[in-house]
């Protein structure tokens, strides 16, 4: 089981990410964030929780209450929604050139 855990941990860490949402015109209004999973790298597809989109729904939370609702298109949220996704680099990324020469650029301010 120990080896299995090791493999599972590596797999989990390679697809884990954090998603943040904010308003383009009102960044001071704060941001909402949650965790997510990278489903595909190229194209980049991420699945995350829907709760952070509540403040951005054009029709308010009522849109989520409809029993028959299975999905809502992206334009259910206002145009001022700004999303960012951050993740740890994969081994391939670390060896690649994407971050070369930019150390510390991503250090977030706590």
């Amino acid at each position: 089981m120990g080896r299995q855990w090791g493999l599972a941990m590596r797999a989990a860490e390679q697809v884990g990410c954090v998603v943040s949402a904010s308003r383009a015109k009102q960044p001071e209004a704060g941001s909402w964030s949650c965790s997510g999973v990278i489903l595909s790298r190229n194209p980049g597809l991420v699945l995350c929780h829907g709760g952070i989109f509540l403040p951005f729904l054009r029709a308010g939370s009522e849109a989520l209450a409809a029993a028959e609702a299975v999905f809502l298109p992206g334009d259910s949220c206002g145009d001022d929604l700004r999303l960012h996704v951050q993740w740890a680099p994969t081994a391939a990324d670390s060896n690649g050139r994407a971050d070369e020469g930019r150390p510390g650029l991503c250090t977030p301010q706590c």
């Binding site: 965790s35 790298r41 699945l47 829907g50 939370s61 680099p89």
Partner: protein, 456 residues
């Protein structure tokens, strides 16, 4: 302010990718998840269920709380805008495989990976790992005892076998029932969300519909999975015991005999209904053969059934305990009949002995109201270690601690069970009413009595 860290002595030292802009493609919901949620938690106000807030302000209004409940079963599919090196990105496009619904059995080990507090200090909190088991399942609504924190909503929960298969996403990391923290995390199975995404993308513009091809595949089907291990046979011995308005858990120790707690079935000769869920759901009437007296430290009752519980492998009692060994509690706590027994995992944190005889077991498994009488097993050996008697409450603050709980060692009960099985004599159980004072002191959570000191 409480989350402001001191300067860390040592950072995890991982360079992070720059936050990459993304667009919202879809908001997705799993109707089956919502239906099961409604069934299990629907009377949320009556049962006083509360879930971890996804809003920044924990002291939100009732409207906020209602909004959060609505959003609890919704997830989002995003497309990340390609970075400057996108064309050179290597490796497979699909990043993860998804477990089919029902592929992971109850009790199977799981690994949760999320970012506590969301985007707060990702260099420290990104991809924090937590281990647990699949505690319960109702369709795509899953529960795990892997401990998660606010901000880990949307985080992935992965199987250990095959390693890294995505099982579910965190829907609510924390929940409380009647102001008691229930040490379980609410999950939504990943497979139905991926299916919903695939179907929904097909109804969008062609450029977006094409993205469906990049959604991860489901790994096999439940019947043909290479990794599916059968649910542990020992878990099937857990039963639900209803005695009038009171209910709790129990364990079948013989086809017609169930052990439970006195506070679940307190009156001898009273009728009780015993339900079990595996291998099939059955309900059998029985009567209380024996219940310890109120003065006994051992909270034990024995129920004789009118019909045999067929098809259940009777548990083998252990003969010894090892502090630190992995243990599991199987019990109907929290949900009762609504959702089959839950499995929670932990270790045997203490074996309290009096005169070299184990008289109390402590575990780190999450134990909730309704778990009393449920069996404590060693998942490694499958042996029965004891029955759960209580968790812990601080009467000063009113706080309940589900991860500190007390069980009665089966080694104390086994001689009486054997005697009853061979002769029908309940005398062995009656001896539980005459426990020595040091044992009573232990179960009252008092300090051992010191020998009287001479005043000379």
């Amino acid at each position: 302010a409480g989350l402001e860290p001191s300067p860390p002595a040592r950072l995890r030292g991982r360079p992070l990718q720059c936050p990459r802009p993304a667009e919202l493609l879809l908001l997705l919901s799993c109707p089956a998840f919502r239906a099961h949620f409604e069934r299990l938690f629907g009377d949320a106000e009556g049962e006083q269920w509360r879930f971890a807030s996804v809003a920044p302000d924990d002291e939100g209004s009732e409207d906020d709380e209602e909004d959060q409940l609505r959003a609890l079963g919704w997830f989002a599919l995003l497309r990340v805008q390609p970075g400057p090196g996108a064309a050179a990105e290597r490796g497979p496009a699909v990043a993860v495989a998804v477990a089919s619904p029902g592929a992971v059995p109850k009790g199977a080990p799981l690994l949760a990976c999320g970012s506590p507090f969301g985007a707060f200090c990702p260099d420290i909190f990104l991809n924090t790992l937590s281990r647990g088991v699949l505690s319960n399942a109702a369709g795509p609504l899953l529960l795990t005892d892997a401990r998660c924190l606010p901000g880990s909503e949307g985080g992935g929960v992965f199987a250990a076998r095959p390693a890294g298969t995505l099982v579910a996403l965190v829907a609510a990391p924390l929940c409380w029932k009647a102001r008691e923290w229930v040490g379980l995390t609410l999950l939504c199975a990943a497979a139905p969300l991926i299916r919903a995404a695939r179907a929904a993308l097909g109804r969008l513009r062609p450029s977006e519909a094409a993205l469906a091809a990049f959604l991860p595949p489901e790994l096999g089907t439940p019947r043909a999975l290479p990794f599916r291990s059968p649910e542990p046979s020992w878990a099937a011995a857990a039963v639900l015991v209803e005695c009038g308005a009171v209910w709790g858990s129990g364990v079948a120790v013989a086809p017609r005999l169930v052990l439970t707690c006195r506070h679940v079935a307190p009156r001898e000769a009273s009728r009780v209904l015993v339900r079990c869920d595996a291998p099939k759901t059955v309900a059998v009437w029985g009567r209380v053969l024996f219940a310890t007296q109120e003065t006994s430290p051992y909270d034990v009752a024995v129920v004789s059934l009118e019909e045999a519980l067929d098809g259940i492998a009777m548990p083998v009692p252990t003969e010894r305990f090892s502090e630190g060994e992995a243990v599991s509690v199987v019990a109907y706590g929290v949900f009762g009949q609504a959702c089959g027994p839950s499995v929670t995992s932990g270790i045997l944190s203490a074996v309290v002995q009096v005169d070299d005889t184990p008289v109390m077991l402590q575990t780190t498994c999450a134990v909730h109201g309704g778990s009393s009488g449920g069996p404590l097993f060693s998942p490694r050996s499958g042996r029965l270690l004891g029955i759960v008697a209580s968790n812990t409450r601080d009467n000063t603050t009113g706080a309940t601690y589900p991860h500190l709980n007390f069980s009665i060692p089966i080694t104390l009960l086994q001689p009486a069970l054997q005697r009853y099985g061979e002769t029908g004599d309940l005398g062995g159980f009656r001896e539980l009413d005459h426990a020595a004072e040091p044992v009573r002191v232990v179960w009252r959570l008092q300090r051992p009595l010191e020998p009287p000191r001479s005043k000379l």
